[in-house]
Point group: C2
Chain length 897, copies 2
């Protein structure tokens, strides 16, 4: 038979699945011989059974009774005893900490009779006893019986008001006696039943309330936000009550073994004399620094210091502690590995290495890429005054301030004259790129975290808030209106916080990131403690990492920056971004070419430009591989929108102008129009259908490499073919590339070493990876497209339309575009990697696309043995850190869906 209850003396800290975090740690402290009030834990399994069946599982009640009897025996007291009652607390405790989300009931065991026994027990302290009883009534009423807690708070306030005070300490035993009667009446009034006088019924009801609290709305929302699975359930901890509110020789406090804000060494905490824990939380009276406890109660203080040392040495991490002193006796109520700020995480990790407390591998588990990312973004000054006017999705972190502009032309014009601008659009498209490049940040009213705006902004490390749907953006009128009717016009200053999604009116002061300055090469910041800690940890990560990190970079500037940020090459150089701006005209020519000659002429014009692009990029990445993806998107992306153009042409027709350039363009747009461009003529298909396009690009790259070799450089070009579904496609274009390679070698007299490989971004490519590897010298997993095809949804379309519903209903817990769906898409990656290696053992395997910079995904890629990840330049340090962490954690796989 399943066992549902464990005594604190039985468990240990590794049993969090079964006993919850709190229960496991109480058991661990008990095991270490620390002074923990005796008690027991009801398992998460009992909770799951209860939630599934709607009642306690068979045997649970008997087991609880058994353990309660043992506890009574140990303590020499009985629950509800009229003369010397045992009191217990009942606290939730899930596997993952959910602060404030779950329920607690203290002082269980008090009733109209035992309250007198408690008074007697505490030397006739009636005030204490009735204070304790009214606390039970209020907590039980709110938590177990579902009465608004304000009902009880209101009565307490009335009482204090009647006495002309704001301080609970001014209330007398009689005041509390009266409050007890009032609270009992309120309970009867709200529930139609009297407060249960039977202490065992109190306990049973409290346990059920804890179980039920797992499924409250706020708990669900919290779990979704923190990606905690819904099916874990919570444990319940029943512990002997100890009291910090029994007099001046008592008190309660919280402590950290290091400063959780700065990471400084040395104890840190607060103490409140003559109080219970809830009083500290309520903030009714001011706490004193923990150090003051040395004066107040040296014995307890010394014992606490020793315990904290024990705990840190044992947990090998900063611990967060709750304790109570009862008449000079120290009791440990809780401990856990403490939460900390990003900067504290790095400093603590650094210090603990120095203190020989942990190894480098362990230190890497004490920090996360997300924390590093936090340290890299500028932030708004939290102390400054701010006027919130809207909120969207935190699409790309950072703090940006500038004048609102509503089109790229204005963005470019204004920024050229030195103005800082925020580009505001309903949504963005490739045409907005020039505006995005010069803007401080991007704000959109439509689209999700993987909309064009969000992806591109993250790619260039530009702050972005997207999908702020309360803002009515009217680009034609160059203004937007907030929910409350405020109008923000072109030129008005706004501030956007890409880490929170907040939009503010006016300028909010910004604080710079020293860590980025360090990565950028500014050595003046090296003395900063946080920078030093980050530098040390990054060096450890790099030394550890099995995978390389490359960058997705399309320009020499991005290439240079990513190299400074530690990239070991370019994993994805998107050539289509080189066809925007002025060059768009040439692509137009290519598309509307009436014959081969016109097409070849357009290609010939593009060739030297592309070559120059590549020369710059190869130079910036000299000595490191540069993977160039040949043109991927459907060509109509370079043409105007069908609908807009149709309206324009219809109006021109109406005006009698039936032969404009727009008519020619519209013909081309119609011809190229696709129902589902994502599933249309793109990638390698373009290369096969349009003679000369891919070879022009290959020639440009290889000529650029030859030029670099002539200039003494060390170029390492790799040509990557997108959207391959079958080996025959790759074979076909590879033949052309090899031919061009031969021609360039003959023409220049210089032999360029290069590789030809492919994206694996279609399910079929993954399934046929064994064949494809016969042609491909490397695979780069295009996990964005692979996710789209495997799930059958496009990120352009679905985030707005149903992802929010899916997340709300728990159908998915995280967008598979944010973090790799390891169970579905990941299976294809794993399979393709295996098959690719079977055919070509030395095949180079990498990943480009958004997932290359996502921590959980990076751990997965490490686990399937990829050689590198590639991500946007600003994510490179994060990816380096996570690559090191992945190796250090010995191939632990993160699961996401």
């Amino acid at each position: 038979m399943t066992r549902y209850v464990y005594d604190f003396t039985e468990g240990n800290k590794d049993q969090k699945d079964l006993l919850g975090g709190k229960g496991a740690n109480l058991a661990e402290m008990t095991r270490l011989g620390l002074p923990v009030p005796p008690g027991f834990t009801i398992t998460t399994e009992a909770c799951r059974a209860y939630l599934r069946d709607g009642h306690e599982p068979a045997g649970l009640t008997d087991e609880v009774e058994q353990h309660l009897g043992d506890l009574e025996h140990t303590m020499g007291k009985r629950l509800g005893d009229p003369t010397d009652p045992l009191l217990v607390s009942c606290r939730s405790g899930a596997k993952f900490s959910m602060p404030g989300m779950m329920e607690t009931v203290l002082n269980i065991g008090l009733n109209d009779e035992s309250v007198a026994g408690l008074a007697e027990q505490t030397g006739g302290n009636e005030r204490f006893a009735y204070d304790s009883y009214r606390r039970l009534l209020a907590m039980f009423g709110a938590t177990v019986l579902g009465i608004e807690s304000s009902v009880f708070a209101h009565e307490l306030d009335s009482r204090k008001e009647a006495k002309g005070t704001h301080n609970d300490l001014d209330l007398t035993a009689d005041d509390f006696k009266e409050l007890v009667e009032v609270f009992k009446a309120k309970i009867a009034e709200h529930t139609g039943r009297d407060f249960p006088q039977d202490p065992r019924e109190q306990l049973r009801m409290a346990v059920r309330a804890v179980f039920d609290s797992w499924n409250t709305e706020r708990a669900r929302i919290y779990r979704r936000r923190e990606q905690i699975p819904d099916d874990l359930g919570t444990a319940v901890n029943i512990g002997t009550m100890v009291f910090g509110n029994g007099g001046e020789d008592s008190g309660t406090g919280v402590a950290f073994t290091r400063d959780p804000a700065s990471g400084e060494q040395g104890v840190y905490g607060d103490y409140l004399q003559n109080a219970q824990g809830e009083d500290v939380v309520a903030g009714i009276r001011n706490t004193v620094p923990l150090a003051d406890l040395e004066q107040i109660d040296k014995k307890s203080y010394d014992e606490l210091m020793e315990i904290m040392q024990t705990l840190e040495a044992h947990y090998k991490d900063m611990c967060d502690i709750e304790f109570t002193v009862e008449h000079g006796k120290l009791w440990m109520l809780q401990t856990r590995v403490g939460k900390r700020t990003a900067q504290a995480a790095f400093r603590i990790a650094e210090h603990m290495i120095d203190e020989d407390l942990i190894t480098v591998d362990e230190a890497l588990q004490r920090v996360t890429g997300d924390q590093l990312a936090q340290l890299m973004f500028p932030r708004f000054d939290l102390d400054a005054e701010r006027s919130l006017i809207g909120k969207g999705m935190n699409a790309s972190p950072g703090a940006a301030v500038g004048k609102a502009v509503f089109d790229s032309d204005t963005a470019v014009e204004w920024s050229e004259r030195g103005e800082k601008v925020i580009l505001v659009r309903r949504e963005t498209n490739p045409d907005d790129l020039r505006g995005m490049v010069v803007a401080q940040g991007i704000l959109t009213s439509r689209g999700g975290k993987t909309s064009h705006a969000a992806v591109v902004a993250r790619g260039m490390g530009r702050t972005c808030v997207c999908g702020a749907d309360s803002l009515d953006v009217r680009t034609a009128e160059k203004q937007f209106t907030t929910k409350d009717g405020t109008v923000v016009k072109e030129g008005d200053v706004i501030s956007i916080d890409g880490s929170t999604g907040e939009v503010f009116a006016g300028e909010v002061p910004v604080v710079d990131s020293l860590v980025v300055r360090y990565f950028e090469g500014d050595r003046s910041v090296q003395s900063d403690a946080v920078v030093a800690a980050v530098a040390k940890i990054m060096a450890s990560a790099d030394a550890k990492a099995r995978m390389n990190v490359r960058a997705n970079a399309d320009t020499p500037e991005d290439a240079a920056r990513s190299r400074r940020f530690g990239a070991r090459g370019i994993g994805l150089c998107r050539t289509e971004h080189m066809f925007l701006g002025e060059r768009r005209k040439l692509i137009e020519k290519l598309i509307i070419a009436k014959d081969d000659a016109e097409r070849d002429a357009a290609l010939a014009e593009l060739l030297p430009m592309q070559r120059q692009d590549f020369v710059g990029i190869l130079e910036a990445m000299d000595g490191l591989p540069v993977t160039v993806r040949l043109i991927d998107p459907p060509l109509h992306e370079f043409l105007p929108d069908l609908t807009e153009l149709s309206v324009q042409v219809a109006r021109e027709d109406d005006a009698g102008n039936t032969d404009s350039h727009h008519h020619v363009l519209l013909d081309a747009v119609r011809r190229l129009h696709e129902q589902n461009p994502m599933l249309g003529l793109r990638g390698v298909r373009l290369g096969i259908v349009i003679p000369g396009l891919f070879t022009m690009q290959a020639r440009a790259l290889l000529e650029a490499a030859a030029q670099r070799l002539r200039d003494g450089g060390n170029p390492k070009p790799e040509i990557m073919i997108p959207l391959v579904a079958t080996a025959a496609e790759l074979e076909t274009v590879k033949q052309d590339i090899v031919r061009v390679g031969g021609e360039v070698a003959t023409e220049t007299g210089i032999k360029v070493d290069y590789k030809v490989g492919t994206m694996v971004e279609l399910p079929r490519a993954a399934l046929r990876a064994g064949d494809i590897a016969r042609e491909a010298e490397f695979f780069s997993f295009g996990t964005n497209d692979l996710t789209q095809m495997t799930w059958g949804f496009s990120r352009d379309d679905v985030e707005a339309s149903f992802f929010s519903t899916y997340l709300d209903r728990g159908i998915i817990t995280v967008s598979p575009f944010e973090s790799l769906d390891t169970k579905g898409v990941g299976e294809l990656v794993r399979y393709a990697a295996e098959k690719g290696r079977e055919t070509r053992p030395n095949i180079h395997l990498g990943v480009c696309g958004e997932h290359g910079g996502d921590p959980a995904s990076i751990h997965f890629f490490d686990s399937v043995g990829l050689n590198y990840v590639s991500c946007s330049p600003y994510r490179v340090p994060v990816a380096r850190l996570e690559a090191g962490r992945a190796t250090a954690s010995a191939g632990g796989v993160s699961s996401t869906a």
Copy 2:
């Protein structure tokens, strides 16, 4: 060392891979002791090595020399011997017959000296010897040296003209001698070299020419059309020459062991006295019926009859034979299993069962689904006069005649007054459905074989020619223009042939299909010999088949027809087709509903209509399963086109009308607009996002089933959820369905048995089939979408844009929408079937969508153990036949990509 040459005495008929079809059968006949001129075969492996390396593989020349020596020894003659020369033929022979595609050179061994020996050998027949020599020169010149064959034909004609005759027999030995000189001169003139006098060089060059002929343009095109792999190569057969042109006691003929046109029992063939095989082909003189040979040469005739009996008994199939009589001695030059018409195939199979020559299983391998399909379509009378005005793709077979109409309204109106119409459109969309239903056939100028028009037409068994791009269709002007400028206006009669893609002006007479009349239940046709044969074979197939065949049917009429056609249930009832026409208004209401109440009102109006739809379908399929797919397509498919509507609204705006219903609609269309609707808000996503939609449909179906039960029926409803990617989606909607099921049971007092299952049409669904099977009682593989997602292209977009290039360049050999891509998509089907069965051993597995009616795909589905295939009603008999064939062939898997 690899062996490249086999004597005819060494091989057998099962070695077609190595020896080619002709070589294997020559060896088989030799082995049977039939009179085959001695010779040997150079293997396909030698050809492949030659084509790969550009030269003969090491050892080949020696082996050929060795075998030639043996042959010379056997025949007691030497190649090129001036007195008694051995002459040989050199013929190609690939694994699959490629008639007229490959090369043959006869009379090798003749030169200026040996020609005299040949004359001597034949009793001084100089005419014969020089006739043979000039034939060698012409064949060698054309085939080996690449000179236009018209060069030689022209000289021959000039010669005959000069003699005032059209008959070769009027030419004398001197004429041929002169022609020999002329031909040699022509060869020297065209190639700059003399005709090689060395017989061994002749042979070597001829062998190379045969090898090279594998890769000619026409051979490639032929292979692509016939789906013969490009990498097989051809064998080369070197055989001793025998001559049918040596006098009246000689001759040549072709014969079939049964009539290949009708399938009638009894020999059938042609004979030409004093002639070589090429003369028969050239049709210069009239042949006589084979029976006449009995009078001409009874000995040879009797021997031939005996041989034909031997061959048929041995091959257990109708054989096709080439033979030559040389001075009264019969020689077998070739045999193979003969090609036959569709009707002959069924009759021959039937007869051979009756004759106890073959088993039922073997009979099933003698016919194909494609042949049955041919028998089911009406055809144009081949003897009638016809005026071809265009040609498109043969999208859906049949012969249709009617007046051209250019919109659905006219189609419906005219057909209601009894006119037959052909609906002509540039391309079709769901709006054209009513027009397609009433039309005799559909003609479009755009779109491929899996365009909307093609798919829907095949689904309803309607004749369709699509993508006839030489026609300039102007629907607004209600006319189209052909390439030569002919204008066809509304009301003009046209005829379209869906089996050839041809479009004719005027009415071409049509012949009805008796087989369809039989399937439709017309017993008056049972006495027809073909119908009887088909009926017998179909009964055998049904008895054999392991898989069931269901139909894709959306209406009671289709359900009833498919039942008559032998469907054992409905595998796919598409509910979206029930939302067209009048009901579109209700869907519009649903979409533009401003609140829950409006939405619920729209759903409430739809409920009784859907219920009535289902009652009819359940009635038609009483006692058999009916799988209803809940609504799948994106809702904007029910709204007007964005671009058209935008133009309309812009014009209304310009006219000052800024508040029309079009404006409301445009808002909705914009809101629902998706970049890639195929990857957007559809299927189960709709069901989750729009409360009440799926439950309305489930309720309608279950209420309909309850009504049928009340009326004494036996409904077997199955509810199918489309586009599931993760088990959680299915779980979510299944809960709602089960709830509705309970409600319906309570409200009606009738308990309906039903199943809930899912489409497996996303790669992720296949990958997670194990999880999904926990919720799904059945899987139906939606191989259309699965193909789209696995390959990353949509059939709406890509067939026109790059499939033709891909087919031309051999990157794909058949559209994966036509025949399942077993290596990619098929792997997902196989994996999902396995995983589904692991979780739920009794899970029911089927396939719906186009592949369910495709023969090769059906064999694959049988091999992975599916329970049924479902296809359009008119394909049901084909699928039944192929399901039986698949089982009979013991799980042989067809490979397609």
